[in-house]
Symmetry: C2
Subunit: 426 residues, 2 copies
C-alpha cells in the first residue's frame, strides 16, 4: 500500500475522489453510531444478572453475623474485604470498600488532600499556594477533570508503551515541591492500553520526590480486564513502595464497574495501614457506611478470585471480537499508508489512534458529520488540549460488531481525507 504523503499528485487526486465518494455515501445513509464511552454492552451486563436473583439477592447476613441491611461498617464486611483484597492484590487491612464508584473515592481522596493534607499533621494542599500534578497523557479525562476542578495545575507527561516517560517524571518530582503526585492507570491504560513495566513501577516507588506529601494515584481500573490472551503482569506498587521505604506514597483504586454492573458495582481504595486510617478518618465524617447488601451479593455471586477470573473470560469473549473488528478495519483502510498508528491492547476498554499532527480535531468533526460520534479530540489530555492534535480514542465495547466495522471504516476514510486536505494546505 503506497504511503499517502509520497503519492504523486494524480494518484492523490484519485484517492481523494474515491474517499470523498465513500464519505458522501456514508453521509447519505444517515447512520448514527456512538464510539465515545467505555461502557459495557448489555450482553456483558447480562453476565451478572444472577446477582439479582434468588439466593444472592435475598441474603442479608454477613458471615460474622452483621445484619447488612442496617447502618455501620465503614470499610466493608470481612468476606468482601477478603475477596476484593485479592482482587486489588493487597491485604484486607490495606483495603476499604466504598460506594459504587472508584471515581468518587479518587475525587474524595484528592479533596481530602486539598482540604486537610495527605496525613495527620501534613499541610493541606489548598494552603500551599500553587500545587501541581503529573498527568501521563493521553490519559483518563475524568482524572484530569478532578484536578482542574480542584485548581491543581496539570503537567502533561508523555505516555510510552511501558508507562509514563520516567526521566521526565523523576526530574519533575525531584525538582519541584509543588509537584504533589501523579495519576496512573497502570494496566491496560486508558486509552493506550499500555501496561507499566516492572522498571517503571520500581522507579515510581523509589524515586526521590521533593514534596514530602507526594502521592501516586494508582487507578488500577482494568486489573482483570484481559482480552482473552495471557493476562499482563503488573508489579505491585504497594510492595515496591514499602521496599523503597515509602509505604505511604501510593493510593490504589479499583472497582467492579466493568466486572458486575457499571452503576451498581463495588469501589475500592487501598494502601498502607496509615493511609487507610487517614481515609477512614475522613470517610467517617461523610458516611455511616457503604451498601453492604451489594457487597454480600458480589461475594455470593463471584465466591472467590477464581470466580472473578472465570467471569472475566466471558467478558473477554464478548469484547475480543469488537477489538478485533476495529483492528481489522483499521489495517484494511490505513495499513501501510503512513497516516496513522494505533495500539493493539491486550486488555482494557480502548484503542488509541495517532493521526499525523494537526488532524485529530478535523477527523472527529468529519466523522461526526457522517454520523459517527467519537470522543472529542483532546479529551484525553490535561485541559482537553492535545498539543499535537493527533490522538483519537476509540471505545469499542458498547456498539455491535457490525456497527463497529462501519464506524471504523468511516473513521479510516476521515483520517485519510483529513491528511489529504492537510497536504493540499487547506
Amino acid at each position: 500500500m503506497p504511503k499517502i504523503d509520497s503519492m504523486p499528485s494524480t494518484e492523490r487526486n484519485t484517492a481523494q475522489n474515491e474517499l470523498g465518494q465513500r464519505y458522501r455515501e456514508y453521509q447519505s445513509r444517515n447512520i448514527s453510531l456512538d464510539m465515545t464511552r467505555g461502557k459495557p454492552c448489555p450482553a456483558q451486563l447480562d453476565l451478572s444478572l444472577g446477582m439479582l436473583d434468588g439466593a444472592c439477592s435475598r441474603l442479608y447476613r454477613a458471615q460474622d453475623g452483621t445484619d447488612c441491611r442496617n447502618y455501620g461498617g465503614l470499610d466493608g464486611i470481612p468476606e468482601a474485604k477478603a475477596l476484593f483484597a485479592d482482587y486489588m492484590e493487597v491485604a484486607p487491612e490495606e483495603l476499604i470498600i466504598g460506594g459504587n464508584s472508584s471515581l468518587t473515592l479518587m475525587h474524595d481522596a484528592m479533596a481530602w488532600a486539598v482540604l486537610f493534607g495527605v496525613a495527620a499533621g501534613s499541610s493541606p494542599w489548598g494552603r500551599q499556594g500553587h500545587v501541581k500534578f503529573l498527568c501521563p497523557s493521553p490519559g483518563y479525562d475524568r482524572h484530569f477533570a478532578i484536578c482542574e476542578h480542584l485548581g491543581i495545575e496539570m503537567i502533561p507527561v508523555a505516555m510510552k508503551a511501558d508507562g509514563p516517560d520516567m526521566q521526565v517524571v523523576e526530574q519533575l518530582a525531584a525538582g519541584d515541591a509543588a509537584v504533589k503526585g501523579i495519576w496512573c492507570v497502570p494496566k491496560y491504560s486508558n486509552p493506550t492500553g499500555a501496561v507499566y513495566s516492572d522498571d517503571v513501577v520500581e522507579r515510581l516507588a523509589a524515586m526521590p520526590v521533593k514534596a514530602p506529601d507526594f502521592r501516586i494515584f494508582w487507578d488500577n481500573a482494568y486489573t482483570v480486564h484481559h482480552l482473552g490472551g495471557a493476562p499482563a503482569r503488573l508489579a505491585s506498587i504497594l510492595t515496591a513502595c514499602r521496599k523503597s521505604g515509602h509505604p505511604d506514597r501510593v493510593l490504589l483504586f479499583g472497582s467492579t464497574s466493568k466486572v458486575s454492573f457499571s452503576g451498581s458495582g463495588l469501589a475500592f481504595m487501598a494502601g498502607s495501614p496509615a493511609n487507610m486510617a487517614w481515609a477512614k478518618n475522613h470517610l467517617g465524617f461523610q458516611t455511616i457506611g457503604p451498601d453492604k447488601l451489594s457487597q454480600l451479593r458480589h461475594v455470593a455471586f463471584f465466591k472467590d478470585m477464581a470466580g472473578v477470573l472465570q467471569h472475566m473470560q466471558k467478558h473477554a469473549a464478548i469484547l475480543k471480537p469488537k477489538f478485533d473488528a476495529v483492528l481489522e478495519v483499521l489495517e484494511r483502510e490505513l495499513g501501510g499508508k503512513g497516516v496513522a498508528e494505533w495500539t493493539r491492547p491486550t486488555g482494557g476498554y480502548f484503542i488509541s489512534i495517532d493521526t499525523p499532527p494537526g488532524c485529530a480535531r478535523r477527523v472527529v468533526q468529519m466523522a461526526t458529520e457522517a454520523g459517527v460520534r467519537l470522543t472529542p479530540a483532546g479529551a484525553p489530555y490535561p485541559y482537553q488540549k492535545d498539543p499535537l492534535d493527533r490522538n483519537i480514542r476509540i471505545a469499542p465495547s458498547f456498539p455491535s460488531v457490525a456497527d463497529i466495522r462501519m464506524a471504523t471504516e468511516v473513521l479510516g476514510i476521515c483520517i485519510q481525507l483529513a491528511r489529504l486536505e492537510k497536504l493540499e494546505g487547506k
Copy 2:
C-alpha cells in the same frame, strides 16, 4: 410524689438507700444494653425484605428504557424522581437522588461550599477567613462533626418546642456576614422531637441575612416517620423561601435509611433549580451516577407515596410500643419528683431528657457502670459540650421492649442518684 430537692434529709437518706440498693442489684446482674444509636431494629428491616425478592430485584429497565445496570444518570431515573419528589415535597426538577447516604450529600454540599462557594461566582467559604454556622442544640452530632471537621465555627442556638430560638437566629444572621447558615432537623427533630412551627419556617425563609451566601441545611430526615398518631404538619421551606424572594437559601436533604434499609436506601438532595444545577455540576466531577438498580427496587416496592405511608405505619406499629415503654417507665420512676423533664415525641427516633444542670455526665457514667450504654453526654451539642451538662439522648428503636424497660429503669435510678449526690455536695 414528693420532689427530691425538697425532701427532709431523713427521707432523702431513705430514698438514697433504696435507690442505691436497686442500682447495685442491676450492677450484679451483668446486663448489657445499648441505647446509643438511632438505628432500626431487625423487625423494621424485615418490612422491606420484599425489595430483595423476585420481581423487584430482577428489574433493570427504567420506564424510559434506561438500562439501570450501566453508567449514567447523575440525578436519578424519572420514576424514582417522581416518587421521591413527592416524598421530599418538591418538584422532580428540584430533586437529586444520590447514593445511599444523606449524610454524604450534606457533607459534600458543605465541602463544595468551602472549596468552591455556594453558587457560581460566589466566594469559597474556605477563602473568607473565619466562617460560622448556627447550630440549634441539642441537635444531630454528625451535623456538628461535619462543621468541626471543615473548620467552621459552630454557634449553639437553643432549641425550643417549635424550633430554634428565632430571635437569636435572626439577630446572628442579620448581624454577622461570617454566619453562613444553619443546621435544621425540622420535623421530629433529633433529639428533642420538636416540629418547626409555620412561624419558624416563615421567619427562617424571610429573615434578612448579612451573608449573601447564607444557606439553610434542612435535614428532613424524619419526614414520614410518625409514631402512629396524626402526622405533624411542616410548612414547605422551599415554598417559603421562594415567596420571600430567597429561592436559593435552602438545601433540603432526606433519605429512606429509616424507611427501607439503613445502609442500602436512597438519599436525596433538593432545592431550587439553580441550587440543583450547582450540585449537579460538582457531583459530575465525583461520580458517573448513583446506583440506579436500587432506585428501581425502591419504586417497584413502594410504588407511590401512598405505599410509603402505608409502609411507615408498619414501622410505627413496631416503634410506638418502644417509645411508650420509655415514657411509662420514666413517668413511674421520675414523675413528679422534679429531677427531670423529657420530651413526648410524635415521630422520629429519639427521646430527649433534661436532668438538673450538672448531672448528665454523671448519669451516663453511672448507667454505663450498670451495663446500660447511653449516648455520651454532650454529644448532641457543638464540640460535644452541653453548657449545662443536663441533656441525655435516648434511642429506643433498636432494643426490645423488655430491654428498653430495664434500661430506662436503670436510667431513672441513675438520674435520682446523681441528683441526690449533687444535693449532698459530692
